[in-house]
């Protein structure tokens, strides 16, 4: 993985190949396991970074649930490599990994991602078929069982924000749900999207503030401060419904309601030039600055057990 090119976009096969290489190089630290299969039958893989222990408290990071947000999968690859490089070198990450596990799902929507490479670069949803409709796919960030079907999602299968027939109808979502429930000890859940430079916390489906609002807000502030320190990239932060718009059935609303207090979602670069088509030259800077924010959240999670 030292010669892997982190500054270009890769296909699903290349990413899965990268994951295998990383596991082979660091068998004591990294393992790969399958949490499910996609609608079209592709395996859904998660990397586990662990230094031992049994069912340690854990941090979950996922990238690429919206398949066209290519900088997120590319950043996920970079994060994976960074973890293996920094463990044993960086005191903070080493302490985190000596006490917690990190789960990283680099391609959360493999069918959609493959489709962006083969047929439609701007595909966002899953690839599941909806009976009675000519339109394909469900927005996997509207398919979670948190305010499912309420305002902030579409019931039109042709819409980019179609919520699906029922909560967890998408295997890509259900696989994570099952994993999170069976693990039972995930303490931070970070879902990474692009673009618009935001760090968000629950809720999206209601204007009601979470009981942890002040703490989540302060941690978000600290995280974006760390992020901005590298290249001066400006991020806003706040609850989903306040900072962007009402969105129901979203990932981190569900994880928060499951008891995962530190539930965040990122919207990575940019502010209005390239959108989802961020040039590959920006992959590494994007990943580097995001990593600083991730570390802030991970360190806080370690130091503030609940």
């Amino acid at each position: 993985t030292d010669t892997f090119n982190y500054a270009t976009y890769h296909t699903l096969e290349e990413i899965y190949g990268f994951m295998d290489m990383l596991v082979a190089e660091h068998p004591q630290l990294v393992s790969k396991f399958q949490i499910g299969s996609t609608y079209e039958g592709r395996p859904i893989y998660v990397l586990k970074f662990s230094t031992g222990g049994n069912n340690r408290p854990a941090i979950w990071i996922d990238t690429g649930i919206h398949s066209r947000e290519w900088v997120t999968q590319a950043s996920g690859i970079w994060f994976a490599k960074k973890i293996t490089q920094d463990y044993g070198q960086d005191t903070s990450l080493t302490t985190i990994l000596d006490n917690m596990d990190i789960f990283l799902e680099i391609v959360t929507n493999p069918d959609g991602f493959a489709f962006t490479h083969s047929k439609n670069r701007l595909w966002r949803k899953t690839r599941s078929i909806t009976a009675g409709s000519a339109c394909i796919g469900v927005d996997p960030n509207r398919n979670w069982d948190a305010g499912f079907g309420k305002a902030g999602a579409s019931n039109n299968p042709c819409s980019e924000t179609y919520h699906g027939k029922f909560a967890n109808s998408e295997t890509e979502v259900k696989s994570i749900v099952d994993f999170v429930k069976s693990h039972g000890n995930i303490k931070a859940f970070i879902s990474i999207h692009s673009y618009s430079q935001l760090l968000l916390y629950p809720y999206g489906y209601t204007t009601e503030q979470t009981p942890d609002h002040n703490e989540l807000d302060q941690l978000a502030k600290d995280a974006v401060t760390a992020l901005s320190s590298l290249y001066g990239t400006k991020f806003k932060y706040g609850s989903i419904i306040k900072a962007i718009y009402r969105a129901s059935g979203g990932t981190i609303d569900w994880t928060y309601n499951q008891g995962i207090k530190y539930s965040y979602t990122f919207e990575l670069r940019d502010t209005g030039r390239y959108g989802f088509l961020l040039p590959a030259s920006q992959i590494i800077p994007t990943a580097q600055e995001t990593w600083l924010a991730l570390k802030t959240i991970m360190e806080y999670t370690l130091n503030h057990p609940y």
């Binding site: 090119n5 270009t8 976009y9 083969s118 047929k119 439609n120 670069r121 701007l122 039109n156 042709c158 980019e160 924000t161 673009y195 618009s196 962007i244 718009y245 209005g272 030039r273 390239y274 959108g275 989802f276 088509l277 040039p279 590959a280």
Partner: protein, 97 residues
């Protein structure tokens, strides 16, 4: 592969709640085949929408009629995609040798 020649991404600035509502109405017009990259939110928050070539005129007329400001964020989506593909091919060619 899907062709995005002539597709533009417009950045819309809705000045008040009424303008946000107007843009939301656009979202419901399925025949325009709009793809909202950033959906309508509160006033002052940018709205980005990919507009197919065939709908460009209708959307711009709609926005101008209602006094809603916009800029062109991406002039031709396909040209950006072509650049992206060229970069990927160039990398693959180098990797292959």
């Amino acid at each position: 592969k899907e062709d995005f020649v002539g597709h533009q991404v417009l950045r819309i600035s809705a000045a008040d709640e009424a303008q946000v509502q107007k843009v939301t109405e656009l979202e419901d017009l399925e025949h325009l085949k709009l793809d909202f990259w950033r959906g309508p939110a509160q006033p002052g928050s940018p709205i980005d929408v990919r507009v197919p070539f065939s709908s460009t005129q209708a959307v711009k007329v709609f926005l101008e009629t209602h006094g809603i400001e916009y800029t062109i964020m991406i002039d031709d989506v396909q040209s950006l995609l072509d650049e992206e593909q060229e970069q990927i091919f160039a990398f693959q060619a180098r990797a292959g040798t």
